[in-house]
Amino acid sequence: MKGNRITQRFSALAQEGKKGLITYITAGDPDLDTTARLVRTMAEAGADLVEVGIPFSDPVADGPVIQKASARALANGVRVRDIIRTCAGIRQNTGVPLILMTYYNPVYQYGLEDFARDAAGAGIDGLIVPDLPFEESGELLGHTDHYGLALIPLVAPTTTEKRLAAMAPAARGFVYCVSVTGVTGAREEIHTDLAKFMRRVRRHIQLPCAIGFGIAGPVQAAAVAPYCDAMVVGSAIVDLVARAGTGDPAPAVAALVKDIKSAIEKCA
């Protein structure tokens, strides 16, 4: 996976001695044109990688903010094929690494090989599936590897050493380290001992580590920066999209991305 944009971006960050910022939005909330515009806005404002969420009706790993965004997008009739097509359009205008995040059933129904082929064909670089633990991921991994799509694993504070060792061979791109036991959503504080958690992860998996879940803004971002190679900000951005209502969410999203980016640059 040498040529993969994710790997290239992490290498560049490491060379510059910088921490990466990964931002998330739910596709189709409020519509796919806005999604495409927001991805470019975030990339221009400093996002190093962008996650595009394919909404699912039963998102058990997500908190209320992303859950509601998914419900809004589905109520608007957004379809998986249209999301992949939108990503292909985004790819025409930006080199930012693109990652799809969704639950396993939409991928399974699309067809595992078809999904990997179409996503890679649209210029998508990675895939995150929060309800697909490594024990169940073998079949999908065969297809994602074949098409050069990185199947990015999640690890949690509860993940044992034994599990970390077992999942290491199947890890691609980077490791998504869930900062808390819980669902997605902004939090005031993260109580997990991140230093210890990240030491355990790095002992077993030699890939860049991103920390996500609970990073609400510049303050938390600066706090977690020392422990990771990149961080993921999701609910805080999705919340801005919701607050914009029928107005344009882009200025507020750009401002938040810039604030977080400058907060973590100071840590570098």
Partner: protein, 396 residues
């Protein structure tokens, strides 16, 4: 080979599709259950509570007047409605509470549709002095106000779920979110043969007592095994409980009855095995009601307990192997069977069980008088009388 395999698969169905945070907890639960399973004192303690607290064995009752009405096979009712708390659900909750206690857990969470599992969980939690929270869709809370009140009296916190369809599916999502957040202290007590491994096998094992008793009782009373066993299927725990000890008896026909709601072709039903296709929901691969994109469809049934777009993975396996036949019965047919049992036998069945009864009545008329049908009367209908009254225009 005994099923499920070590990864929790029944053929191609089952497995563990949950956030990584929960995987270590599922590994711990599997180990604890295997250890308890091997320990005779665990089963002795369970048997004590099943006999002295639940009231087992439940009778196998020959429904003479119902059978005469059908002019065909003899219909026997396995009276799970006579259990403490009024349904089969208590068999499993006592089993899992004993396991949770062994694991040192102090807090129990559960999800409930019709409320029977919630009441059974609140009851078991009270019995062993554990903190209990039950997630329930707000739509179901309105339909099943009596059971909400019972749970609260028993000391449980009932958490209303406003997301999605506000029914069992969304209550299960919310319970999983709670579990992800509080996994260190909390035991998630799943009420059906659904969810990630080891729940489907564990709940089945705790409900097998229904079939084990039925097997003995029907032989004592009739000198042979039954021709047909009928049970309703939402998630499928009462059906799996009564079917499982008969799976090797090829001469016994096993019939699972899903909720056809307003009709199988109306889109308003809960007939997952009849109209769904394989997918992943709530931690396992099984049949699911869904659209082309894999978004989960809303289920509909007059019975809140059957109103679920998924089904336990072992049922999917039994469908594909052909060992169990899965049919569906409409709201209207279930309501008719409900009234029929009330008037012929003086028994008010749960609307869930009325689906199985409706199927049995259909079949009985086409079978000879020496034939034997056993219906799993999985619960009593007190909780449903208001629903029935509304459906019948207040004349119920």
């Amino acid at each position: 080979m005994p099923l499920p395999d070590e990864r929790g698969y029944f053929g191609s169905f089952g497995g563990r599709y949950v956030p990584e945070t929960l995987m270590p907890a599922l590994e711990e639960l599997t180990a604890a259950y295997q250890e308890a399973h091997r320990d005779p004192s665990f089963w002795q303690e369970l048997e004590y509570y099943l006999q002295q607290y639940v009231g087992r064995p439940s009778p196998l009752y020959f429904a003479r007047r119902l059978s005469e009405h059908c002019r065909g096979a003899r219909i026997y009712l396995k009276r799970e409605d006579l259990n403490h708390t009024g349904a089969h659900k208590i068999n499993n909750t006592i089993g899992q509470i004993l396991l949770a206690r062994r694991m040192g857990k102090k807090r129990i969470i559960a999800e409930t549709g019709a409320g029977q599992h919630g009441v059974a969980t609140a009851t078991a939690a009270a019995l062993f002095g554990m903190e209990c929270a039950v997630y329930m869709g707000e739509e179901d809370m309105a339909r099943q106000a009596l059971n909400v009140f019972r749970m609260r009296i028993l000391g449980a916190t009932v958490v209303g779920v406003t997301a999605g369809s506000r029914t069992l599916k969304d209550a299960m999502n919310e319970a999983m979110r709670d579990w992800v957040t509080n996994v260190d202290t909390t035991y998630y007590l799943i009420g059906s043969v659904a969810g990630p491994h080891p729940y489907p096998v564990m709940v089945r094992d705790f409900q097998r007592v229904i079939g084990v008793e039925t097997r003995r009782q029907v032989q004592e009373q009739t000198g042979r095994l039954p021709d047909v066993i009928v049970a309703c299927v939402g998630g499928g725990s009462n059906a799996m409980g009564i079917f499982h000890p008969f799976l090797e008896d090829r001469e016994v026909k096993l019939v699972g009855v899903e909720a056809a709601g307003c009709g199988l072709d109306t889109g308003k039903h809960a007939a997952t095995l009849n109209r769904g296709r394989p997918g992943i929901l709530h931690g396992s691969k099984s049949y699911v009601l869904q659209d082309e994109d894999g978004q989960i469809n809303l289920a509909h049934s007059i019975s809140a307990g059957l109103d679920y777009p998924g089904v336990g993975p072992e049922h999917s396996y039994l469908k594909e192997t052909g060992r169990v036949v899965y049919t569906a019965v409409t709201d209207e047919e279930a309501l008719e069977a409900f009234q029929l049992l009330c008037r012929t036998e003086g028994i008010i069945p749960a609307l869930e069980s009325a689906h199985a009864l409706a199927q049995a009545v259909k079949m009985a008329g086409e079978m000879p008088q020496e034939a034997i049908i056993v219906v799993n009367l999985s619960g009593r209908g007190d909780k449903d009388v208001q629903t029935v009254a509304r459906a019948l225009g207040g004349e119920g």
